[in-house]
Amino acid sequence: MITLTLKEPPSVPLEAEVLSPDVTAELSNDAIRALPVYLGKRQRRVDDFFDVDGASSDQITIHGDASRVKWIGRAMTRGRIRVDGNAGMHLGAYMSGGAIDVSGNASDWVGAEMSGGAIRIGGNAGGQIGAAYRGSNTGMRDGTILVGGGAGLEVGMRMKRGIIAIGGPVRDFAGLQMKGGTIVLGSGAELRTGAWMMRGTIISLRQLPLMPTFLYAATYVPGFLRIYSAYLERLGFTLPCSEQQGAYQRYTGDTSVPGKGEILIWAPRGA
């Protein structure tokens, strides 16, 4: 286990893609301390900002308010990172394996363009979760992202596969230009959910405003949801799927594209 304790939050953002299990797996303590991080445009050392314990491990724990520390877990393929505190932008971007757990909040671009692995955020996250970077055709290609709190804009933008589940409220443009995969909105979302959606599934456990280009189809409990419910239950996220409790209203869209996606809105029985 490698433990990094932030001495104090940096004055400007710190670019710290070196904080990844792939990098630290074979390094000595001295080598980890000497890894380069960028404070703005200046190159510095990890131990200018962190106390470093441990060596040669793909298990990393970070203590402290790292909300200005960017790129933690970038492109990681293995191992585990635990952040006991907050994390900065681009957490787990491009990752393809391993796991990241953040007890506090995260910022924008969590899991951007990831292709595997799992990220869990206890608190809130920012926008562009699992999304494509600007100009890029495709966002998340696989993997699982769970956020206990709320999230910002463009969650799952241009994602192709994988699953994002957000417990708290989500802002505009969730599932923008979605190509596939699944987004679960535990507390609904604000405006323009599913805009330009091509394929994929957005599941909302609360009613949410829909664009006029999403057309109501039917109310039922889709069979596949039970599979997803079992999967998410194992991760501590509850997705109702029993006919006794209610059913889902299916909306087809985004017909303006025209897309073959769907928004499923939970309608509890008796409500």
């Binding site: 069979g223 039970r226 079992a230």
Partner: protein
């Protein structure tokens, strides 16, 4: 011989059984039916991928391509058509896969969609009742067909009672099916024919009581035997067949049963030999 396992779930056990029974009909022998299939077990809701009551079906065929075609035919005609069912792969760890859902999806006439989760793809075919969920690919593995028991009894009633008891016991074993109607074969066969040309199989005269003294018949039957019934068992591996045959052998030891044997076929039908005495040890 290759096998696949198909898990059928439905809104109730009854509907799962209905689909499974229909799917495994006319599947007694690969020779005449192209496939051998049967219900392996009824599954509790907690045991199935979607948490609903279900049944697992085993399907056996000579080659993987044949198996694929049969699965598509049978799931397409009997499971897809049955209300409330969903259909999942029961051999997810098998390296060899055959395409089932990816063929059946075309029934959706391009209105179908798929979901991919945790390494498995599921097709959602829009149907009148709602959606039919079927997994894209099913695992196949090498398997063994034609394990058998021959129950030699004093009379038909005794043979039947013993065979029924045997079948009840064998049905509790996982990994096996008994492809014949109710698991029992009244007309066991031998390979080819002696007196006709061009026959694949003919009556197993060595065990037919009424022709015991005919010229040219080398009977295997002890004097006291007047009726013989056969139980055929297919299994996913040797262990499963041995387990089934052991409990079947035991359950068949009833009054009126003179001897319990097993067909050898001179070693012509396959490399696996199950010696009954070995099962007793």
């Amino acid at each position: 011989m290759r096998a696949s396992r198909v898990i059928i779930t439905a809104a109730s056990e009854a509907w799962a059984r209905t689909a499974a029974t229909s799917m495994t009909g006319f599947a007694t022998s690969v020779i005449g039916c192209k496939v051998e299939a049967g219900i392996e077990a009824v599954l509790a809701a907690a045991e199935t991928p979607d948490g609903r009551p279900g049944a697992s079906v085993l399907v056996f065929a000579f080659k993987a391509e044949g198996l694929a075609t049969r699965l598509v035919e049978r799931v397409g005609q009997t499971v897809l058509t049955c209300p409330t069912t969903a259909c999942f792969d029961g051999l997810p760890d098998a390296a060899d896969r055959v395409q089932v859902g990816s063929v059946l999806r075309h029934f959706g006439d391009k209105l179908q969609s798929s979901k991919f989760l945790d390494g498995r793809r599921y097709w959602r075919v829009p149907v009148m009742e709602g959606e039919f969920l079927v997994e894209e690919a099913f695992g196949t593995q090498p398997a063994i067909g034609g394990g058998n028991l021959l129950i030699l009894a004093k009379d038909q009633a005794a043979a039947l009672a013993a065979a029924e008891a045997s079948v009840d016991a064998m049905r509790q074993v996982r990994g096996v099916i008994l492809p014949f109607p109710s698991g029992i074969v009244r007309a066991g066969s031998k390979v080819g024919a002696k007196r006709y040309k061009n026959m694949t199989a003919s009556t197993n005269e060595a065990y037919c009581p009424t022709v015991r003294r005919r010229l040219g018949v080398a009977s295997e039957l002890p004097e006291a035997v007047n009726s013989v019934l056969e139980i055929v068992v297919d299994g996913v591996d040797r262990q499963a067949i041995e387990d089934a045959m052991r409990v079947g052998l035991d359950a068949a030891c009833r009054p009126g049963v003179v001897q319990i044997s097993a067909g050898n076929y001179g070693g012509k039908l396959g490399k696996h030999l199950f010696k009954l005495h070995d099962l007793l040890n």
